[in-house]
């Protein structure tokens, strides 16, 4: 499907990139076997969340910002509740924090299993979709559906609903699930943990293209846990580390012409957030079982091959099952679902680890709790420059492959990021121009 351009160059149109959340475009231009430009275009019409959050009440962001993304609403709910609690000078209880972590485990399980098996694995196994894959790999697909459902069940019980949970509020929850209800989840979670550990080995047998980049990984870090619903610091491979409250001094957003999503830089350079970054900066905080599974699957304590993100994601999937079970085992009934939060004027930041990377929110509110200013920085916009760098490297490295294979590699390279461009995108139209 290669066709000539007026200027003598070539455009290979392999259609829109599928199996990502949202739609966008990509443009690769090759001249004399050299890559001259690579652009990830995000066309999603802007939805102006930061605009209309102004004038809303400090209690509203958990419900409103959840609607930025149907795949990772809890990430938005967690970051926004934390920001508001910081501003209002309120600390919630240990139980509320645990329940938030459990809800977040549900989201990780749901989102990671969706991405691993339904969006990404078909690339490695040579199918257009999971539905086609089901014809030859029925047991894998049935396992995937079971895993995903177990995550949704956690979200439905703890959050009230799997998409846009209704039970989250600034200060905690409207209602705490009971121990009996939570224990009802255990059989499926136990089975899920076994399945996920087996899946780590399964995905590690895929054929991975050789490609490594010298990424500056950036992730939340918590002294006691693998970062998930919150962290105390932001750390980077470069060695820079600082408290979450200072994130605005290091991470700057900027607007480029070819994308409707803002780009971002870390101390002036491109950087990388997401499972590979989390894993490589927090390997020591994984459970012994997950560490062992990771090493057995051939991962080192850091991983620099973006195509292997599918293995890292599966390790995190197993970790989320283990954490969910650990939290349920710790649980006792009788805790207050929330603490009261009265508004006070100020500004604050909340951050969490969405399945696809660090997300942070900054709000400024007045004494009545009316929002004066809001800034929301999702992972995919932070990763745009890294995605482009990967595409450039892939195109350079595999320039001699036929267009079809090269295109497929490039698509897979984008899906490595599990980009959630629904907050920003319309069509991802992959074009390779050769001249």
């Amino acid at each position: 499907m290669t066709h000539q351009l007026k200027d003598g160059g070539q455009v290979l149109n392999v259609g829109m990139l599928a199996r990502v959340e949202g739609e966008g475009g990509m443009h690769i231009e090759i001249k004399d076997r050299k890559v001259v430009s690579v652009k990830l275009n995000i066309f999603e019409p802007p939805r102006f969340y930061e605009g209309f959050l102004r004038g809303r009440k400090y209690t509203e962001p958990p419900d409103i910002t959840a609607r930025i993304c149907g795949i990772c609403p809890v990430a938005y709910q967690s970051a926004s509740t934390e920001a508001m609690e910081t501003i209002c000078g309120v600390t919630t209880t240990a139980e509320i924090q645990l329940m938030r972590r459990l809800l977040y485990c549900g989201e990780w399980i749901e989102s990671h299993s969706l991405h691993i098996f339904m969006l990404h694995a078909p690339d490695f196994l040579g199918y257009d979709s999971v539905l086609e894959m089901a014809k030859d790999h029925a047991d894998v697909v049935n396992m995937a559906l079971r895993l995903k459902k177990a995550g949704n069940d956690v979200m439905e019980l703890v959050g009230g609903r799997a998409i846009h949970p209704v039970n989250v509020k600034v200060g905690g929850f409207y209602r705490m699930p009971t121990l009996t209800e939570l224990e009802g989840l255990k059989p499926d979670l136990e089975r899920g943990l076994e399945d996920a550990l087996a899946a780590v080995q399964l995905v590690s047998t895929f054929d991975f293209p050789e490609m490594e980049q010298d990424y500056n990984y950036v992730s939340l870090r918590h002294p006691d846990w693998y970062p998930l619903e919150r962290g105390t610091e932001i750390v980077a491979t470069s060695g820079v580390r600082f408290p979450v409250a200072q994130v605005g001094e290091h991470i700057k957003e900027f607007h480029v012409e070819h994308s409707n999503a803002l780009h971002a830089s870390f101390d002036g350079e491109k950087y990388f957030v997401g499972p590979l970054a989390r894993y490589s900066l927090n390997f020591d905080q994984l459970s012994p079982r997950c560490q062992e599974a990771a090493l057995k699957a051939g991962l080192g304590e850091t991983c620099r091959n973006p195509f292997k993100s599918i293995i890292v994601r599966t390790v995190e999937l197993a970790y989320a099952f283990e954490e969910a079970l650990r939290i349920i085992d710790l649980w006792t009934d009788g805790h207050a679902p929330s603490v009261p939060v009265a508004p006070r004027a100020g500004e604050g930041i909340g951050a969490s680890e969405a399945p696809r990377g660090t997300i942070w929110h900054r709000y400024k509110i007045d004494a009545d709790g009316v929002i004066l200013d809001a800034q929301i920085v999702p992972p995919t916009s932070q990763n745009q420059a890294s995605i482009e760098a990967d595409l450039r490297l892939a195109a350079e490295q595999w320039v001699d492959l036929d267009d079809h294979t090269l295109s497929h590699r490039c698509e897979t390279a984008i899906r490595n990021y599990d980009p959630c461009i629904s907050c920003a995108t319309h069509f991802l139209d992959l074009r390779i121009k050769r001249s």
């Binding site: 739609e23 939805r47 102006f48």
Partner: protein
């Protein structure tokens, strides 16, 4: 900014079956219609949550894929089979000039067109721009607002083309979505209740939230479908399924005032995920204009 060539599916999946079935859209013919009607899932400005509801039907997904031919669904598959499509599910609202054109193209190649979710039926949360100065929004969020092409409004699909059925919710309810698919396949009307969330709440035996705890609740004016989720979790309904058939918003406004709410808070309560639904829009405008009833 968008490449003109990107508004239609760009490649055809070679060897895909079902591409010869013709586009007979008459649902009443369904029993004799060709096996496996073609389904397309489209997205406009939205969060992907409603199409995710389809993938969240873990127990039903493989049977759905057996009953309909998933011909176009970029979130789930690279394969693209050209239209016409017997059934199109449309998520998201219309917010750009390109999308106005695209929805007409989709209507033209769809037998039955069903909108799913609050964005597609009422413009979604982003319809809040309909009350604002979009140029100001642009400059709040973007350093170079001149790069963007966007409309001043966010509107539901039915404001642009004829729609055969609207499924409410932010997001849609999974079982209601399955019911719509089953009804399409069976050539009958979907059985979706049009009564209020209050009825579901009573059926569940919930305590009435505003009465018990004084929190505002839009249940009396909101269409059922969620199983009275919020009241079951001890909070008032915030109207994510949009207005019920015959709402009495004046009476609700009066009740909210009795709970001690300020006028500006009542305006906010009506203006969330279904702010652009005519009943909620009118009620909020009435309150904003200086109190109501």
């Amino acid at each position: 900014m968008t490449d003109p060539g990107t508004t239609t599916p760009a490649h055809t999946h070679e060897g895909a079956d079902g591409s010869h079935t013709h586009g007979d859209a008459d649902a009443s013919q369904a029993p004799t219609a060709p096996a496996r009607p073609k389904l397309a899932v489209w997205k406009f400005a939205s969060c992907d949550g409603c199409q995710l509801s389809l993938l969240n039907c873990e127990d039903e997904l493989l049977s759905i894929a057996g009953a309909v031919h998933i011909a176009y669904f970029p979130e789930a598959t690279r394969a693209v089979v050209e239209g016409p499509y017997e059934l199109s599910l449309v998520e998201g609202s219309i917010t750009t000039p390109e999308d106005v054109k695209r929805i007409h193209e989709i209507r033209a190649q769809s037998g039955t067109l069903v909108t799913i979710g609050a964005c597609a039926t009422a413009g979604g949360i982003q319809a809040l721009r309909n009350w604002a100065d979009v140029d100001e929004y642009r400059s709040i969020v973007y350093a170079h607002p001149e790069y963007l092409s966007t409309l001043d409004t966010s509107t539901g699909i039915a404001s642009h083309v004829d729609v055969d059925y609207e499924l409410r919710g932010c997001p849609v309810d999974k079982s209601q979505l399955v019911e719509v698919l089953a009804a399409f396949l069976g050539g009958r009307k979907p059985r979706i209740p049009t009564y209020s969330v209050c009825v579901e709440c009573k059926l569940k035996g919930n305590v009435c939230v505003p009465i018990a705890s004084g929190q505002p609740c839009l249940g009396p004016v909101t269409q059922a479908g969620c199983g009275a989720l919020c009241p079951s979790y001890g909070r008032g309904c915030y109207g994510c399924f949009g207005p019920q058939d015959s709402t009495n918003t004046d009476s609700l406004t009066h009740q909210l005032r009795k709970l001690g709410m300020r006028w500006d808070d009542i305006v906010r309560v009506y203006r969330t995920f279904n702010a652009g639904a005519p009943e909620f829009e009118a009620a909020s405008n009435k309150v904003a204009a200086g109190g109501a009833s």
